[in-house]
Subunit: 206 residues, 2 copies
């Protein structure tokens, strides 16, 4: 019998990857060049592959993939509605912020996962070597147009705020995150700290 927490985590991951795929590939159309469209498209395709990996694991555990995702659809959709990028720069920033915060989140909760699930989570993180590329693309954008900095800094704060409320909502709506409240509070603090560090590295005030 698989732990409820693990099934919820897989459900939220599956829907998260599926919707990231759709959002990224829709956003791709606003890229300044066909080359950038292809880059964003490639990232979207990676997300879809991750969705398929998680879906396969859910099926392997005897779960209905659709049923596992459904409880998380409203809050993830709402998150995306509240964080619609206004242009391509904001899309890239959103992809970077979500990618890195999710990676931190999954790394932290891995300790509560059975070995097979932990391995899947690791595999998905490894298959997404996108955040280095995104960071580089952001640096380049900021070099090309330093006026972007204040707008992207503001956007970064908005994204991290929404992402953290989202993470909390998921852990309240779904089966609770294991561990005491203290662990959850520490996790949120750590996610915020790492995010701020990354923003500073980009020269943005977090």
């Amino acid at each position: 019998m698989t732990d409820r927490f693990v099934l919820d985590l897989l459900g939220v991951m599956a829907y998260g990857e599926l919707s990231a795929f759709e959002r990224l590939s829709s956003d791709a159309r606003f890229s300044p060049s066909l080359r950038d469209r292809a880059v964003l498209g490639r990232m979207a395709v990676t997300e879809f592959g991750n969705f398929e990996l998680v879906a396969e694991r859910l099926s392997g555990l005897g779960q209905d993939v659709e049923a596992a995702m459904l409880p998380f659809q409203p809050s993830i959709d709402a998150f995306h509605e509240r964080t619609r990028p206004a242009d391509w720069y904001e899309s890239i920033m959103k992809a970077y912020v979500i990618d890195t915060i999710s990676a931190d989140f999954y790394r932290s909760v891995s300790q509560f996962l059975d070995p097979a699930t932990a391995q899947l989570v690791q595999q998905i993180q490894d298959s997404a070597p996108t955040s280095d590329g995104l960071q580089e693309r952001l640096r380049q954008m900021l070099d090309d147009d330093p006026r972007l900095a204040s707008r992207l800094a503001l956007w970064g704060r908005r994204l991290v705020g929404e992402a953290l409320s989202q993470a909390q909502r998921v852990s309240i709506e779904g089966a609770a995150l294991p561990g005491a409240d203290a662990f959850r509070a520490e996790l949120m603090a750590a996610l915020t700290r790492n995010h701020s560090l990354r923003m500073s590295q980009l020269g943005l005030t977090a």
Copy 2:
């Protein structure tokens, strides 16, 4: 020295696949179920893979992929703007009509291609075993809700009209399709005939 026609064909294919990827994956969000979203997403990912194959071939021929696609961007974008699906049913119908007409088109012009390009075109057709699945899905939709028939028949006529003008525009704007005007006229007639046949098979008046 590669024939101008071949380079144009590869350029139009590359941009066609890239934009089909983006449109399909954006449309996926309107699917009635998460299962259908995943199906449309998988199709979109296949289109992206095809884009990558064509892009690789262009690079192999010493061409800049972006430059090869650019001349065809306005007309393909305009085509998509004129054929925005109103809902998921129209998305599926659009995917089916475009998929099958493109397959017919590429099959017809294959005789003018060098063996390597002809093989690539064949490989792409083979990697897209989607039209059978789409046809089945359309049948099922029409069985479930027969009132869809008149709307989808109308939509099918609109799509084929736009697709054929598109095919003609491409062959005028780009390097001309080889062969005499008679070949082009016969090609258009054949595309229309095959489309009508497929619509009849779905029980739709073409």
